[in-house]
């Protein structure tokens, strides 16, 4: 099928496979269609069908709440083409440097990190390049609807990605994942996606505020920074929010990053439901402990400013909103705050 996208000032055409989401088809052919979550929750990939037949897969997607279906409005991440289509898209379209692609993957090494967080690897059918901070969308045969997960590892090209998932009450995908600890299920992987990326040549300090499994993308950014010896000439602050110390993970890796940072990386674990009885972690004394919500702990620490910095924010929506508010109040320009809303 041929998809024609009419934007404000240009027209672009690309091919779309049978059953392929229109968003995926455009992105993999380097057409920068607008999107944030790619999983139906944010509404950024809205378009209006001017001609052609389409099929909407998840009609109740919350990101579609403000669409006008009677006028042909759709979310491109949830829609397949049944014929050649012309779509109107309300933003500018440019080219993408590293376009995402569909791959097959096998889930391996599912391990429980905490009572409700697991880490797992996906071995990819072909190597993938990505930027630190990006995510992939995963579709598994047994569960309807795709899920987005940030890569926690980093290398210039990888055959295997490391992901972190939190089990939510009633969460069908994570429930399925927790129950498949023994198998090696196959999934469809689409990516890399996301613009909340770290680029070492930007030459700025790093502030990261993450809650729970949101730390995954930050781990990728830190790994990338450590590989580039970025902390020999830049400062980094990481604020990692969890409920209690029992809920924290990646501590050994974080301590290793601090040790390789020439004294320029600070990591603070913020405990929301527990009092920090010591100022430093007993087993990893290079990691600080604080009591309180992570965006408030971070807000206090950066109240005097962070210099020329770029901020990465990831976690539950309430935490993301609170963190963004603190960062702006501290004087950080909005262009230097990066996050992807796919929670």
């Amino acid at each position: 099928m041929k998809i024609t996208i009419q934007s404000k000032s240009s027209e672009t055409t690309f091919d779309c496979g049978d059953g392929e989401a229109i968003l995926h088809a455009g992105l993999r052919q380097a057409v920068s269609l607008p999107y944030e979550c790619a999983t139906g929750t944010c509404g950024t990939c809205r378009a209006r069908v001017a001609s052609g037949d389409v099929e909407v897969r998840w009609k109740e997607a919350p990101g579609g709440a403000r669409l006008k279906p009677d006028k042909g409005d759709i979310l491109m991440c949830q829609t397949r083409a049944l014929s050649d289509c012309v779509l109107k898209v309300p933003s500018e379209i440019a080219a993408i440097d590293v376009p995402p692609a569909p791959r097959r993957g096998v889930i391996r090494n599912v391990r429980k990190f905490t009572r409700d967080v697991v880490r797992f690897d996906i071995d990819l059918s072909s190597p993938m390049k990505f930027e630190a901070g990006q995510f992939v969308v995963i579709d598994c045969p047994d569960v309807v609807g795709a899920r987005a997960y940030s890569m926690a590892n980093f290398d210039t090209e990888v055959d295997r990605i490391e992901l972190v998932a939190k089990r939510k009450p009633g969460g069908t995908f994570t429930g399925w994942l927790f129950d498949s600890l023994d198998g090696e299920p196959e999934v469809a992987v689409f990516g890399p996606l996301g613009r909340a990326v770290f680029r070492p040549h930007e030459d700025k300090n790093i502030v990261s505020i993450a809650g729970g499994s949101g730390i995954a993308g930050i781990m990728s950014i830190l790994e990338c920074a450590i590989q580039a010896d970025y902390f020999s000439s830049h400062k980094g602050s990481v604020f990692f929010g969890v409920r209690t110390l029992q809920d924290a993970f990646y501590l050994e890796t974080l301590a290793r990053y601090v040790a390789s940072s020439h004294g320029n990386l600070d990591v603070t674990i913020a405990l929301s439901d527990e009092t920090a009885i010591t100022p430093f972690h007993a087993d990893y004394p290079s990691l600080r402990l604080e009591s309180g919500l992570v965006h408030e702990v971070a807000g206090k620490a950066i109240a005097d400013g962070v210099g020329d910095a770029v901020a990465f924010v990831a976690g539950p929506p309430v935490m993301v909103d609170g963190a963004i508010r603190r960062l702006i109040t501290c004087g950080m320009p909005s262009r230097d705050i990066r996050y992807d809303k796919f929670s």
Binding site: K8, P90, I324, I328, T329, S334, R335, I337
Partner: protein, 120 residues
């Protein structure tokens, strides 16, 4: 007579916003320290209520939802902001702030002129 009193000079603290009802028209008053702005109470991006979603710092209003931002003295768009902020004329007189309201300023999310309205 289109000038209407919106509030007193000290009714909105510096670097905060407050929503008022001016004869049935909702108006958000922004005090950015060096001056005031009277604007529609929603973000022109995705209709977020600015009363809750906005932060005012150093003369810039930012909607924290998707980080659209405007400089308040010039209304210049910041960063990746794609739509201008609409603003009511405003003056200070006898300890009051007055706004010039001829009709409610609205953003065109819902214009009914088919098709073309999609790009506004």
């Amino acid at each position: 007579m289109t000038w209407k009193r919106i509030c007193g000079l000290n009714d909105v603290a510096e670097n905060t916003v407050r929503k008022f009802d001016v004869e049935g028209i909702p108006i958000l008053l922004v005090n950015y320290g060096a001056g005031y702005r009277a604007i529609p109470p929603i973000c022109p991006h995705m209709e977020e209520p600015l009363e809750e979603s906005s932060v005012v710092v150093r003369c810039i209003l930012t909607c924290t939802k998707h980080l659209w931002a405007w400089k308040l003295d010039t209304l210049e768009m910041q960063g990746e902001t794609e739509k201008p902020l609409k603003s009511y004329d405003l003056k200070q007189e006898d300890g009051s702030i007055l706004v010039k309201v001829e009709e409610e300023l609205v953003y065109e999310f819902d214009a009914e002129e088919d098709d073309d309205d999609f790009f506004k």
